[in-house]
Structures are given as C-alpha cells and as structure tokens.
Symmetry: C2
Subunit: 394 residues, 2 copies
Amino acid sequence: MSELNVRAEKLDAADELAGKRAEFVTDDVVYLDGNSLGALPAVVPGRVADVVRRQWGELRIRSWEESGWWTAPERIGDRIAPLVGAAAGQIVVGDSTSVNVFKALVGAVRMAGEGRDEIVVDATTFPTDGYIAESAARMTGCALRPVAPADVPDALGGRTAAVLLNHVDYRTGRLHDLPGLTDAVHEAGAYVVWDLCHSAGALPVGLDEHAVDLAVGCTYKYLNGGPGSPAYLYVRRELQDRFDSPLPGWNSHAEPFGMRTGYAPAAGALRGRVGTPDILSMLALEAALEVWDGVPVEAVRAKSLALTDFFLECVAAYVPEGRVECLTPVAHAERGSQIALRCDDAGDVMKRLIAQGVIGDFRAPDVLRFGFTPLYVGFADVERAARVLAGTLD
Amino acid sequence: MSELNVRAEKLDAADELAGKRAEFVTDDVVYLDGNSLGALPAVVPGRVADVVRRQWGELRIRSWEESGWWTAPERIGDRIAPLVGAAAGQIVVGDSTSVNVFKALVGAVRMAGEGRDEIVVDATTFPTDGYIAESAARMTGCALRPVAPADVPDALGGRTAAVLLNHVDYRTGRLHDLPGLTDAVHEAGAYVVWDLCHSAGALPVGLDEHAVDLAVGCTYKYLNGGPGSPAYLYVRRELQDRFDSPLPGWNSHAEPFGMRTGYAPAAGALRGRVGTPDILSMLALEAALEVWDGVPVEAVRAKSLALTDFFLECVAAYVPEGRVECLTPVAHAERGSQIALRCDDAGDVMKRLIAQGVIGDFRAPDVLRFGFTPLYVGFADVERAARVLAGTLD
C-alpha cells in the first residue's frame, strides 16, 4: 500500500462528514461529476412516490393547499437560504437558471434607473449567462460589455447599471472574490447579480453578509436536486420593493386568485415567482435538501479544500510532470470545489477514465473537469481517481 | 331509477372511450376539476420511479444521452403535436405557460417588424397572459390594447404587431373562433399567439390547418401531465427561422456544448428551448401522454360535447330555474369542455359540493366551474354531479 493510500485511509477515518455518504445512492464508481449532476439522495425516491401516488393521485387538486404545493417555491427557498448565507424570505425556487438570470438582470437594470445604460458581464461566463445578458441588454436599451472578472473594478463607471458575475468559473473552477467585487460594484453605484451554480452547496457564499443585491443558482449540482431541478432567485430584502420583474406571471401577483385584470406585485421574494410551480421536481428537490440537516457549510468547505488539495497532491505524485496543466488556482481563496486539468487529448482521456469507473466530464476543447462533492466523495476516491487518471494518461 | 339515470347508463354503455378510465387512478368522487389538474394516469408512478431510481440514481450523468433526457423537450413536443393538429418539429416542451407567452409574444412582435407597435390582448384572458403581455409590450416599445375576442377583427390595423388570444375562456368555457380570428389577424398583417391551456386535449385545435403562427399551452389540465408540469411552445415551421427568442438560453444554441461566447440559434423548434430541461416533471408528462395512444381528438370532442350537453340537461331537470345562470354558450361551436354556472353564493356552494364528493372549482367572485375530461369522466358522473348540485343549491 502506497503512502498516499495510507493517507487517504487516515483522512477518511477522521472525516466528520463521512457518514453522509450513506444518505446517497452510490456504487463502486468514483463519481466526480456532482458539479454537473449531483448523486441521488436516498430519501428522494420514496418522497417522489408519495407526491405522485398520494398527493397527485389521491388528493389531486386539494394538494395545492393540503400538501403545501402552492407555497413550495418560497418554503424551499427558505431551506436553501442558510446554505448561501441568506436570512429567510429572500429566495424563491422555480424556473431555470437562464430564466432567473433574465429576471435578475432586467430587475437590476431597472433598479439602477435612468442614465445607467451598460451591463457588464463576466467574459469567461458559462455561455447561457452571456446569451441572456445580451437579451436583457437589448430589451432594456443597454450596451453589453464583457469583462474578465479581475478587470471588472476598472471597467465600472457612471454608466454601469448592472454586473453579472459567476462565483465559481464553470471551466477552471476559479473562485472569484464575491465580497470585493460586490463592494466595487456598489461603489460605482451599480447592482450586482451573482450566479452561484458552481458554489452553492460547496462553500460559504454569504449573500446577506456581503450585501449582494441579486443572485441565481441551479439546484442540481452540489444541492443534488435532480436532473434539471428548478433554479432559484435571491433578491435582497431591502431591494424587494423595487424589484420589477420582466416576467410578472400570476404567481407573483399580490392576490393570485383574485383574477384581477391589473397587475399588482406581491410583497417580498414572491415577486420573483412567475407561473405555476413545477411540483414534482420541486418536491424532489425539497426532499434532497434534507441531507443538509445539521451540516454546516463551513464543514463542507473544509472538506472540499482537503479533497482538492489531496487530489492535486496525488496527481503530482502519479502523473508525469507536464502531461496535464492545472487550470484551477492553487490558492484556497481562489478555488471552488472542482479541479480542471488541461491536456490536448482531454476528450479521449475522459472516455478512458469513465470506462475505468472514474466519472468526470470533458469541456471542449481540452479540459478535464473533476467535481468534488464533500457529502459523498471520500479521500480514497480521490486517490483512486488520480491513480486511474495517471494510467489513462500513460 | 329516474329517466336521466337510465339515459346515463345507456350513454356509458355506448361510450367508446369508457375503457380509458381504467388507465387513470380514480376513486368514488366525481372529479370535474380536470380543467385545473388532470387525474393521475396509472402508468406515471412506475415511470417516475424508474426515472428517479435508475436513470438518475444509477446512470446519473450518462442519462442525458442514454435515457434521452437531452432531447426530451422536442420529443415530447412531437407527442403533443398530433393532439393540437401540428406536424412534428414545431413544438418544444419546457418552462411555464407564462414564460412561453413571453417568448411567443416578443417573438411575434419581432416578426412584425418596424412600424407595428401595438399588441392586442384578449380582455377576458386568464390574468397571467395579460400581465405578461403588458411586460412584453413594455419591453418591445409597444402599446397594449385589451379587446374582447369578438371585437378583435375591428380592432386590428396597420399598427397591430401581435394578438394574444385564448382558445377557450378559462372562466366561462367559451370556445373562440380560432380559424376566423387567425385569418383576421393575418389579413391585418399581424401575428397571432393562441393560448391552448383550456382546449388542448379536449377538442381539435388544428394549428397547422389554420396557419396559426405561435401557440402556447400547459400540460396539466386535459393532458394530465401532473401538477405544474412543463408547458409548450409551438412555432409554425415557416416562421422558425425568424423566431427571435427573448430568452436565448444555452439549450437553444445551434451548438449547446460548443460553449461559444457568441449566440447562434438552433434551427427549428429547438429555438424555443431555454435552460436545462426539468427532467422529472418532463418524463412524468411523457408517460402521461401514453394514454392518448390510439385516441383521436375528434372522439374526445364528440364525447366532451355529449357530456356537457347532458350536464346542462340534468341541471335543467334538477335545479330550480333561475337558481344558477349558465355562462357557457349552448352552441357547440362556442363551447369548450367545461360548464360555468354563476350564482351569488358560488363559494359556499362549491364547498358543499366538494364535501359531497363532487369536485369542481370556484372562481371568484361567483362562478362554479365544472370541467369534463372525456378520458375518465362518464355520463353517470355527470348525472350525479347535477343531482348533488341541485341538493346543495336547495
């Protein structure tokens, strides 16, 4: 047994979160793709069966009240809130991340008001945010300015209305400076929208603490909500009265069953709702969030960093120098919960890895992504992944 | 046994669709709320369990390809297509009805082009369409003009860009003249968007035959997709190249996994996609649509009219004249698949009805709605509903 195997055993034995793995459906592969689709929490199948058979099949329409369907978007939002450092009443769940980016960005531009006609967007963003930002700019009469996150402070000015940033870069796994960039945007008199897809559930976000204005995120990565599970929208309490949604569906009305011809927005986070909530997916997500009971995000972050540190150490030990280039920063303050390795034959390498039971993913043209979900990934998994990787690179 | 009981028995015995009821989870209540939430098709629980346990739990990320997750929006759209008279390749499933109204209406205004700056909206619409139309108008620089459907032809002109209409009125159950109104809109050089929420699955729509431009609809009423199941968007084939979505998420990109910075829309109906599809709800819907195998919409329509005719006859026989007012037109050509009865104490009446096992719904301030889903409602149900109603009105 190698020295790294021994280390992995010791780290697993000392891991306070190790018991959480039993709350997921796992098998003998090393699943490092939870940053794309989280594993299935064991509580979900039974809950979904109840929602389908009893709540829908037997109670039918009564479930909108009796099974709490109607209030699910804000109730589940409140369950996500502590994971991203938000007090209750500021998050609603529903729609896709893309749709929520649209709501948030148009809402931010409208808050900024007259004279501010520029949207700044992370130039390295996951593409959908850029496409939606372009549409939001077009529909609000703004110019769109793509800027690398590090250059954002210098790009801000009196014309800046809103800034859309990613907390963690989907490709490189780089963690951006949310507090510092938020401050910079505020100093320029603009509003910031953070995309938390690759950070929520993996590290502390501190939305309230850092006075973030608006935020969006998906729930199918580190929050394990299931394929395409609904996304969420955070609107800071102080801004809710001014949040003017471009998608004012009947669910966001002050009196949704009043069937009024005129629109009057609800108070609070409900203003971010749109149409009828997607109950099956939403209640599957609610069940999935139960695995977080008693789990501090800080403990998850500590383990995440230990996992990625250990992976880098194992890769350095097993993989010949120069065979792969690490795109993820070494500094903890700049690292999310994934490691991205660059090599020219990444597509083929990932196919071989998957064939040998190590599941990561490939992002064109040349990136191997490995996501580390602290709730179900252990240190022995990490050592094995690096060892198998070294073999496939040979 | 009354004459109407005997008639009901004969009608049920002659009903070619009677066997379909066994494909749903039913009980001893009379469920006349399928125009709000369709009953559970018996095939759904097992399918959903497989999606959760095997496709998500075991295959995980592989299911995006191996379980057909990625192509679900257009595949399920093609399954809905024949029910609304559309050839394949023109419908995608996803998002809520409200979000699809936004896509369709903004898309229609953009097709209309310069010089046309007015959106006409059904003044009697289900509220969300009106709210979203107001937002679409605001964001495209259009004026919004609410017009009663019968007055639409006279309201059209050279400034009309788009017209948003409901095929069946959610409150009164009135069926509007889709072919005639579509022609009128086209003669004015404008584009029409039809909301099919209360007609799809209950009567023939004929989208292609009548050259409808765009259409949207929910899937949780007569299509029985489950609570908040995803809605759909139809874009006529000839217009797809010109459909310019206000929500151009990465799923609508010509090369979604190319991770391009610049947006390039996909060809065809895929252009109506936005973010990651909501797989649990979407595949529950796909299973639910299997009950339509071998069922012609024309047969459903014939039974629907027979059911509502018979209900009106039973109400006339059992309920004292003048106690309720029927808001639904008597003429078949103007009737959807619901009957709306007005009375001052409708809220209390509906509570008593539900307590006695007849489930309809109440729409403020004074409407009793009864929806008749031909796939699982029979004529004995209809007679019983009218009889119990008469008792509660006493």
